[in-house]
């Protein structure tokens, strides 16, 4: 299958897991290498956010916190509208390797289909703008 559902990378870092963990799971750490600004509520279900100085912001949801070995979160798929419910899942796994850490990141879920691709829900959505504009017109007419 040529449609990639999953991206996986492994890197060897010359720093102990505790230090790598801090870089991945604290606002200071994330803002230092990933985003330009970051906020994180580090517990499963907690909200996190990163933003970049060029104006892009991404909302994240913390899913797994197993210090200092597994950190997982879901986030929006870039390029899809903000209200789109689909998310990819990112999981970092930290393993001690000598004095350093072997870090693996897996992002999965790219091949999800929109639920409404061929369904009735979509037809409702397609009519959405037309009916909203219709409602606006009626509202203005009534005023």
């Amino acid at each position: 299958m040529s449609f990639p559902d999953r991206i996986e990378r492994t890197v060897e870092l010359a720093h102990p897991p505790a230090k790598v963990w801090a870089a991945l799971t604290t606002a200071e750490g994330l803002a230092a290498w990933f985003g330009d600004q970051a906020a994180i509520d580090l517990r499963p279900g907690g909200a996190a956010r990163m933003s970049w100085n060029h104006g892009f912001t991404v909302q994240m949801r913390v899913e797994r916190v197993e210090e200092p070995t597994v950190f997982g979160y879901t986030w929006q798929i870039s390029g899809l509208p903000e209200e789109d419910p689909r998310r990819t899942y990112v999981e970092f796994t930290l393993e001690p390797a000598g004095a350093g850490t072997r870090l693996t990141v897996v992002e999965s879920g790219f091949a999800q289909l929109p639920d409404d691709l061929h369904g009735k829900a979509y037809e409702g959505n397609a009519g959405g703008w037309a009916s909203e504009l219709g409602e606006l017109a009626s509202y203005l007419d009534a005023a």
């Binding site: 991206i7 230090k19 990933f34 798929i77 390029g79 899809l80 061929h118």
Partner: protein
Amino acid sequence: MRPDVEVVAEQVFAALADPTRRAILAALASGGPATATDLAGRLPVTRQAVAKHLALLAEAGLVRAEPGERRRVRYRLRSAPMQVAQQFLAALARDWDSSLDALKDHLDRGA
């Protein structure tokens, strides 16, 4: 049965590979539903050519014909298949290599 993402992506990218079809989709996106005649008036192609491309776009699920009298049939953009293509592009554009290089640099600077 859920349609295969691969099939949807193939149809979307094949549809987008043609400049006239891109122009038709762009016209429907910016101006809303239109007939083949409307589109031929706005684009440098004949009505027959527009109709042929609209048939292909409808087959790929990228436009939908609204019920109506033959020459008055209006075509409306369908965005759902585009979202499959966007997901494909998102996977290609997710640059973990650069992010992990930045992580490495960050850790080394702090050492």
